[in-house]
Assembly symmetry: C2
Homo-oligomer: 429 residues x 2
């Protein structure tokens, strides 16, 4: 009897962490806005949680009188339809698992829940915080209720790209065919250790301002852009197969070039939307041009072939026009202002120095590079002359150096819970 | 004998003017780079020469020892392949016309020529000066040699869009099917007086700097952009038929919306090019957002329907997201930084005032509006509050107010020749 009473827990609490992911084949547009089913498959790299993560504590108690939610320490609307969809789906899976019978040894599904969630990076800074957030919410709730099913389908109901944050390494979100979305799932293309040399640099150009969410924008694109339709139907299926091959073969040049092309095409479909949607700014283009100049310089020094003239417009930095050059670095931009750069480990120190010279830190600059250590590099005069043109001081706030990482993790240490024994966030003194 | 000697002219001189044109269904990409055959048909509005024109004098003389060319008073390379192509084609047509026999009453085709050409607007300021320039060259040469054939095919050899400047009003450049280009011609969709209320505002944002030509860019697009291929094959044929109908019906709302969409799609295909090509700047997007806010405001005041929220990114002006609103003004951007705005006459005064308030002139501003007269307008407080957000002083140099106009003209007044009796440009004291 004592054991049964103890098992009928009064308070259960679980803490999980979940990663951010960066798409290299982009997701833009839903075929079902309620179930969050995409018009095309997408593919992403899960970033390491040592640098970027969401932490979420979920608690259930018979003493809680209502569901409550705190985001980064502030209470938020727990009634948000997407939060409710995740909660409903996890509970449905728990009920199914229990075969309909309420087992006293498991947590009661009728208890109210408290959830607290925190990012270790600026929220909504264009760093796909909703993906990590919903992946973390679903992971914590599933652990709380003892659900071990395929959970990417549930995370997808919170935010499309959240399903990709349910796995580590290289992840495909399969479009699926079924109208009920049961085949629109995340699949791991390769685990995080598959490509140990791959590095990711996040160039944070705005950590303060809040970009507007992509939900409204992508539906307008679906409704108005003929190019998006073609992209989803014809271009992406080909590119997805190519990208999976490049990742399996660890072919950085092919991977990088396709990532850049796909980022550009995503932004092209935003521009083809009516009214048009712009995420790239003049600064984004400075970074794009810098990457192309850097690649051109290295292509130049390695391949003794003439580079044809340059092509650019009045006010914008020059993008070298040439046959595609094997890239050393590859950029990708999501629906926000930050740039994400892929590179191999042996390129990082030099490219970081190029970025530092191109966007000299406004203040002392000792926090300019964060995350994984970056070695020092001396730039050749030729490199500086060819690549570092027209520096823009202060334009890049800082660089975050990271790498591919694993999927959501359970936090065993109870001292890491974001909620106290009273089920409320720790007071921050 | 005296008559025959007089007819065997020692010096012949002709002066013509030719117009600029602005595409509303854009041309981007050649299927034959030598013959300048496009991958899709395009459609443009010929602008009035009272505001924007090229003037060209062509002279031939038995005393000239070499072909020579002056552009805006400076001698230029007459051996440029495209200049030579135009010269060769006009002479070929002249020879064909004369049936192979050299008639002493006509100008000898063996005489060397002198050509002088001038724009009444800043060269290469993104105002399609090459289109007006080659149209004018071909018109003057054709007059000089007495050729009256279909000349758009010849002008096309100078610059693709030049063929559209060979006609007034609304002009289609038909893609054509034949490999020899004989069916890739300009056709008048409607004459300039067909739509007397239509006005054109050129917002000159850079009259000084020289944008790079589009030739290299468009070929890279043809080679690398899957979206451009789809646009040329599928989207443009539909849009061309729609645009011709909108013009015939003088349906400004449909015309304007399609012009905006097609401009955006052209720039989208530039972005889908690899490496990407950018013509739109942050300032272009300010202007685009301004036009959408202006249209939304008027759609709002006329149609009592709720406007859903706004969608934008961090640093960029907001573009209202809403079902397409009947536009009052429509923007289009070519491969340069200037914006071209279409509006009906009764909208011009108010919109010009909106532009003046949004981009307050840096200096005294008395030359801010040029071209056709613009009435004064008082803006309502509601309009200012809704539309004039975050002014950018000095960003727009000036506004040129013009309208559709006729094709190339012969200048009868000999005092207007750009060359003196000695066949050299007038010395400018």
């Amino acid at each position: 009897v004592a054991a049964a009473m103890a098992a009928e827990r009064a308070l259960a609490m679980v803490t999980c962490t979940a990663p951010v992911n960066i798409a290299v084949i982009k997701y833009w547009g839903k075929r079902d806005t309620d179930l969050i089913l995409p018009i095309n498959s997408s593919l992403s790299v899960t970033l390491h949680q040592d640098q970027l993560k969401t932490t979420t504590t979920a608690a259930a108690s018979r003493d809680f009188t209502e569901d409550r939610l705190w985001l980064n320490g502030k209470e938020a609307d727990v009634g948000h339809p997407r939060v409710q969809a995740c909660l409903r789906e996890v509970r449905r899976l728990a009920r199914k698992r229990r075969g309909g019978s309420e087992d006293t040894a498991t947590l009661s599904l009728s208890y109210k829940i408290h959830v607290a969630s925190e990012n270790n990076f600026p929220t909504a800074a264009g760093l796909a915080s909703s993906a990590a957030g919903y992946a973390c919410l679903v992971s914590a709730l599933a652990r709380l209720y003892g659900v071990e099913d395929e959970l990417s389908e549930v995370a997808r109901r919170g935010s499309g790209s959240a399903c990709r944050s349910m796995l580590g390494g290289f992840v495909q979100w399969q479009r699926g065919e079924r109208p009920d979305g049961t085949d629109s799932l995340a699949l791991q293309v390769a685990p995080e250790m598959h490509w140990p040399e791959l590095r990711v640099l996040v160039l944070v150009v705005s950590g303060e301002k809040k970009p507007v969410g992509s939900t409204a924008g992508m539906q307008t694109s679906v409704e108005t852009s003929p190019l998006l339709k073609h992209r989803a139907e014809v271009v992406v299926p080909e590119r997805l197969a190519q990208m999976m091959r490049h990742i399996r073969e660890r072919d950085f040049e092919a991977f990088g070039q396709l990532a850049m092309r796909d980022s550009n095409q995503f932004h092209a479909t935003c521009l083809d939307t009516f009214p048009p949607i712009f995420y790239l700014t003049d600064l984004s283009r400075h970074i794009i041009a810098l990457a192309h100049r850097y690649n051109a310089h290295h292509g130049h020094t390695k391949v003794p072939a003439g580079l044809p003239g340059c092509h650019s417009t009045v006010a914008l930095p020059q993008v070298p026009m040439s046959p595609p050059i094997p890239p050393q670095v590859a950029y990708t931009f999501d629906a926000g202002p930050n740039a994400v750069i892929f590179a191999l480990a042996d390129t990082v120190a030099e490219f970081v120095e190029v970025v530092r010279r191109s966007f000299p830190p406004a203040t002392n600059g000792d926090q300019f590079v964060r995350g994984l250590p970056v070695g020092s590099a001396v730039l050749s005069q030729e490199l500086v002359a060819a690549v570092v043109t027209e520096p823009v001081p202060g334009a890049v706030q800082y660089i975050l150096h990271t790498q591919p990482g694993p999927g959501p993790q359970l936090v065993d240490d109870p001292s890491q819970h974001l909620l106290g024994a009273d089920g409320l966030p720790w007071s921050r003194v």
